[in-house]
Subunit: 374 residues, 2 copies
Amino acid sequence: MFAFHVHKTDGAARLGELTTPHGSVDTPTFMPVGTQATVKAMRPADLRANGTDIILANTYHLMLRPGAERIAKLGGLHRFINWPHPILTDSGGFQVMSLSSLRKLSETGVTFRSHLDGAVVVLTPERAVEIQALLGADISMQLDECIKLPATPHELRRSVRLSAIWAERSKRAFESVPPGRALFGIVQGGDDPRLRVDSCRALVDIGFEGYAIGGLAVGEPQHVMLAMIDAVMPSLPTSCPRYLMGVGTPDDILEAVARGIDMFDCVMPTRNGRHGVAFTRFGAINLKNARHAEDPRPIDAESPCLAARDYPRAYLHHLIKANEILGAMLLTEVNVHYYQSLMRQTRAAIANRQFIEFCQSTRDSWARGESAAS
Amino acid sequence: MFAFHVHKTDGAARLGELTTPHGSVDTPTFMPVGTQATVKAMRPADLRANGTDIILANTYHLMLRPGAERIAKLGGLHRFINWPHPILTDSGGFQVMSLSSLRKLSETGVTFRSHLDGAVVVLTPERAVEIQALLGADISMQLDECIKLPATPHELRRSVRLSAIWAERSKRAFESVPPGRALFGIVQGGDDPRLRVDSCRALVDIGFEGYAIGGLAVGEPQHVMLAMIDAVMPSLPTSCPRYLMGVGTPDDILEAVARGIDMFDCVMPTRNGRHGVAFTRFGAINLKNARHAEDPRPIDAESPCLAARDYPRAYLHHLIKANEILGAMLLTEVNVHYYQSLMRQTRAAIANRQFIEFCQSTRDSWARGESAAS
């Protein structure tokens, strides 16, 4: 059965625990993104070994290939991908906007063409809930309309209104989903703090197990994103988990945790890893850079992560330049390990009521960079 | 110090042990191919865990990128790639023929353009030995000319003569390599058994630590390949390891072991894995095939290899269709595990003098296929 408990707070930062049908998750938590039913370049057991408690799966991709009904027939997503731990699925709304063509939006739902084969697909709030139920998601997200910024006030208002209507329909559809699972609402409103509050109140009136802040991390400056979090926080129930969608850099995460966010997802550790960027306690290191070509040092000689500890930077540089799969594998692991160890340290710092000090020392270490360590 | 001992024989099949500066290798052995300083899609620790004792690295690729001098400066190939176990390097001859353009062959060596950047590179027998010494190979191969079949008798004779001259120069150059490492000669002669014997005798006169049979597995029928092995075997010293280059299918390996071959390398388990083919005790399974799209069974429920045991075929089918890195990772592991377990069983069968029975039961299992097992 889904549940959420806040065990401790330190300022606005919260140490909590999500309970789901597939196990519990300590919060604040970071969810690696498994777009096409795989967190790219990582085996599930290695995700787990590197501290991952919950992953995100993309409804849009899975509904198109291999299909939600097929996954249900095979026993659900957890069994399909060999990940017996919690899974959150997004609603598909964001990818419909960013990946598909020929979108037609109405109050009923959205009609689009698949980016894979051009097939016409209809996604309604009810179908989005149904797909996520077929996948067997521990946490489902309502279908929302995620519009691009900048947007006119008129567009923003229309999209907030539509998302609220869809939220209500999602909630109703979710009543026929097996019990124990959770449905989260998604706050929209672009960069307008008053619209954000309106959106938030409408969702709280409907009532969800958790609340997400959507439509951010789409290119806006960090201070805008943080201002939107600040705007909605007072209107969100303290008893429910708060999820900042698609965020972000390690610094974004610390800023958001400091404001009371409990959950994050982002492609950054996996995607940037495949492109040669390692996240470390010294900040980000771009291994594609020629200055690493003859560097015998590992990424971090003191890391418990073997990918960070046992391979020369010169080798990682070579693998990325040669477009070798092993480069993607090793740097993805380095980054998932770093993100999850940052979350673990974050939780420990909140437990010890030293979160501010932890943020300061972490930022100092990023700012000092590698020079101090070598 | 390099050494080779035959512990037991069963017919012509031999159970032996190679000793190298980086550890020993039980033979018959299979060497996965690490073309660009990585066995594609596998971490070194996973190669080892799946039974790999020695890998092959490609001189041609490494001399072009990242460069032999650079790898030497970084402490050698073993340290560069985080593989502290034995490494055999080829001489670059085969790839010069198959990958580079504008080759000019003379008795001195071969001049060619890099397939990466078009740079003009000269490879001589002496330089091939030097590169392999810089890499720190436990076993080096002489530079040879590997010509395409079919070839005229005149071409074949010329290439055998050239390879013998290069063998002699390689041997001389190898005298300045640090002691303990080994140099192997390569028997050429195309599909002409008499030329194969001539080539073999010339090499044995020069004297090498081991002898390879090259220029096969290039598209000829299996019976031609086996006839060439049969032709040269009587001329090879029983005290030295015998290496059949670029071979092959599981069946090729059993046939060659039965004729006294001790060492193999092939891209087949790794390349075919990336393309969706799993090697199993039921024969090869092409996971790309649509009939696997809804199959909940793993590749082999009784395999100790988690990649073969814990993932539905439907999922592997999906990963390969979606071109996901994890598909390449899992099927590469399935195949390396299968090849290495075949070699382990081969060694056990020779030890028990049951190699013929083992070959028969293995072939029966391949022929029965999956139907009998499901």
